[in-house]
């Protein structure tokens, strides 16, 4: 016993040491990298060679050597990576002015430093130019799409911002389609995305902080928040967690989510994501922090609470009564999506007395002669449904339709008429499937919960379901997202925030930001904004 324990302990310690070692090695490699930050020499050839040595001979690396000056006496080189730059900008605004502008008359013994400043200051027609002296910097900016201008005899180089690559335009987002509201969605381009947000919140308080994560990918990310509203602790914590990330690559915001979320092993996500600028802007205005990642249209927002999944941007654009009705329907649909199969199993195998008599006859008649117990039927149908769904998403559209036909025929008709499964099971699963799409944020967690609850219901009946639900409740109650309890504003209860949970009050009555998220600047609008008719004019002879 104790042998075992001590072994276990020892292996732990070893693991820890190994990890520490690795970390140290990483640090070392970083240091050597920093040491090797060679400065530019004054020889163009040398500089080019050292850049080539780092970047290697790639087909998309283009080095254009040319000469300029009134006598063509200054040789220079432009380095850029094809496909990541705006070619017309390089041709028209960098090479053309340099070679065409003859006013650049230079003495034989002219100083190289002066040349650089003159070129930067008077010749190039480009918005953003920086000077750089180290080769590493040059390589990095070249890789991110800038153009480098190297000049003979200069110990500095110009980094000319010329990023321009094919991007998708701003289009209707696919995951969150709405009827009323802005149609634009985020794109893969970080700059476009920040612009979309900036266009919504034109305030000096709106802060965007840049960061680069990923040793190999060097992915740019931005932290967006509203200064004076967002909880500074959350911002600090977010930055701390983001800085902790030391990985080779970030390809999508999901990577970031995985690294910074509070409950990495939970089936519930504690960080929200959205593809719509208006949704994200709304969340930022409520005091949340957003993280935009280059290369993905999905923007992370946190702190996230459970009920956020039930709120849609459109709720706030439509009239409050309808919005509230839809809200309630979403809650019902979520309940159906996780409870319907397990309730069916529990009712038909444990609590037949709960089924009204005529319904019981129908259910009994439909399950008469089917070979499998109800649990197996429901689980199998659930798995088949998930397979169909997955196939439908992954396959190309035309084939996807074929899948749905096959699914409908095989499962809906043949299986029932062959007596393999009861007709009621098909109805239950179909209802579940439809309901599970109503709350997209919880679709994935719902699928898992469904399976767990069906198994529990199959072994313990209704008590099993209740045990499962209480377990879920305990789990949800113990979750936090960046310091905010996941179940707030329900638990802990903050009565003021209930204005936006089961029903949505009119916009003019939404006086405060959610208290569980924001600690400062709680009030978001003036107190009396309820529209009223203008006061009646008191002149009595008005009718004439």
């Amino acid at each position: 016993m104790f042998n075992f324990l001590s072994k276990k302990l020892r292996s732990w310690q070893q693991q820890n040491q190994n990890i520490n070692k690795e970390n140290k090695e990483n640090d070392n490699s970083k240091k050597t990298k920093e040491n090797s930050q060679a400065k530019l020499s004054s020889n163009l050839k040398e500089n080019l060679d050292s850049i080539k040595a780092i970047l290697g001979v790639c087909e998309d690396l283009i080095i254009r050597e040319f000469a300029f000056g009134n006598k063509g006496q200054i040789s220079a080189a432009i380095i850029f990576i094809d496909g990541m730059v705006d070619r017309t900008l390089i041709n028209d605004n960098i090479i053309k002015p340099l070679m065409y502008d003859n006013r650049f008359i230079c003495e034989e013994e002219s100083l190289e430093i002066k040349n650089i400043d003159i070129i930067k200051g008077t010749i190039l027609y480009v918005g953003e130019i920086e000077k750089s002296t180290t080769i590493n910097d040059l390589v990095e900016s070249c890789l991110s799409g800038d153009t480098i201008l190297l000049i003979e005899k200069a110990k500095e180089a110009l980094v000319i911002s010329s990023r321009g690559w094919e991007t998708r335009g701003v289009v209707d987002p696919e995951t969150e389609t709405i009827v009323r509201g802005p149609r634009e969605g985020f794109t893969e381009n970080l700059r476009t995305n920040t612009t979309l947000l900036r266009r919504k919140i034109k305030s000096p308080d709106f802060m965007l902080e840049a960061m680069k994560i990923g040793r190999k990918t060097n992915t740019a990310i931005s932290i967006a928040y509203l200064k004076g509203v967002a909880n500074p602790e959350v911002i600090e914590e977010a930055k701390r967690r983001l800085k902790r990330i030391d990985t080779d690559g970030i390809l999508e915001s999901g990577y970031i989510e995985g690294f910074i979320e509070d409950a990495p092993l939970s089936i519930f996500s504690t960080i929200g994501n959205s593809e719509k600028p208006d949704t994200v802007a709304g969340k930022i205005l409520e005091g949340r922090v957003a993280v935009l990642v280059d290369g993905t249209p999905f923007v992370l927002t946190f702190p996230m609470v459970f009920i956020e999944g039930f709120q849609s941007a459109e709720d706030y654009y439509s009239r409050p009564y309808y919005a509230s009705l839809v809200r309630v329907i979403r809650f019902i649909a979520f309940a159906i999506s996780i409870l319907a199969p397990s309730s069916y199993v529990a009712a038909t195998t444990f609590h037949q007395e709960l089924i009204p008599t005529p319904l019981l006859f129908t259910v009994a008649a439909s399950s008469e002669g089917t070979p499998f117990p109800a649990v197996v039927e429901v689980l199998a149908m659930g798995v088949i449904f998930e397979i169909l769904r997955e196939a439908g998403i992954r396959l190309p559209r035309p084939v996807g339709q074929a899948i749905s036909i096959v699914g409908a025929l095989v499962i809906g008709e043949s299986a029932v008429s062959a007596g393999l499964i009861g007709g009621i099971v098909v109805i239950v699963i179909a209802l579940t499937a439809v309901a599970s799409f109503v709350v997209p944020a919880q679709t994935d967690s719902g699928a898992i919960l469904r399976v767990i609850l069906v198994i529990l219901a199959g072994s313990m009946g209704g008590v099993g379901i209740m045990v499962g639900l209480i377990g879920i409740l305990i789990h949800l109650a113990s979750l936090r997202s960046f310091g905010t309890p996941y179940l707030s504003p329900l638990a802990p209860l903050s009565p003021f925030d209930l204005k936006d949970v089961f029903f949505r009050v009119p916009i003019w009555a939404m006086l405060t930001r959610p208290k569980s998220i924001v600690r400062q600047n709680i009030q978001r609008q003036k107190f009396i904004l309820k529209p009223t008719p203008p006061p009646e004019k008191k002149d009595k002879g008005g009718s004439k």
């Binding site: 075992f4 324990l5 276990k8 732990w12």
Partner: protein, 76 residues
């Protein structure tokens, strides 16, 4: 017998899960309390499974209240 082996396994799992944390943190006192409570629990459950007639604490209370102090509501 099958039940007792099963029970021993459960207790072993509990021990493996809980004890290392206490040892790593050097919570010696807690470890002692934990181990003694766990062994008490083990003895109790084994006795229950073996069907040994353990006197119920409620019977003791009933004896105290009813027979010694004569305070039971039933008598008055």
């Amino acid at each position: 017998m099958k039940m007792i082996i099963l029970l021993a396994m459960v207790f072993l799992i509990i021990l493996i899960i809980e004890a290392p944390k206490l040892i790593v943190n050097k919570y010696w006192k807690e470890l002692i309390v934990f181990l003694s409570l766990l062994s008490l629990a083990f003895i109790l459950t084994v006795l229950v499974i073996l069907g040994v007639d353990i006197p119920s604490p409620l019977e003791g209370i009933e004896y105290l209240i009813d027979d010694i102090l004569d305070l039971s509501w039933e008598r008055k």
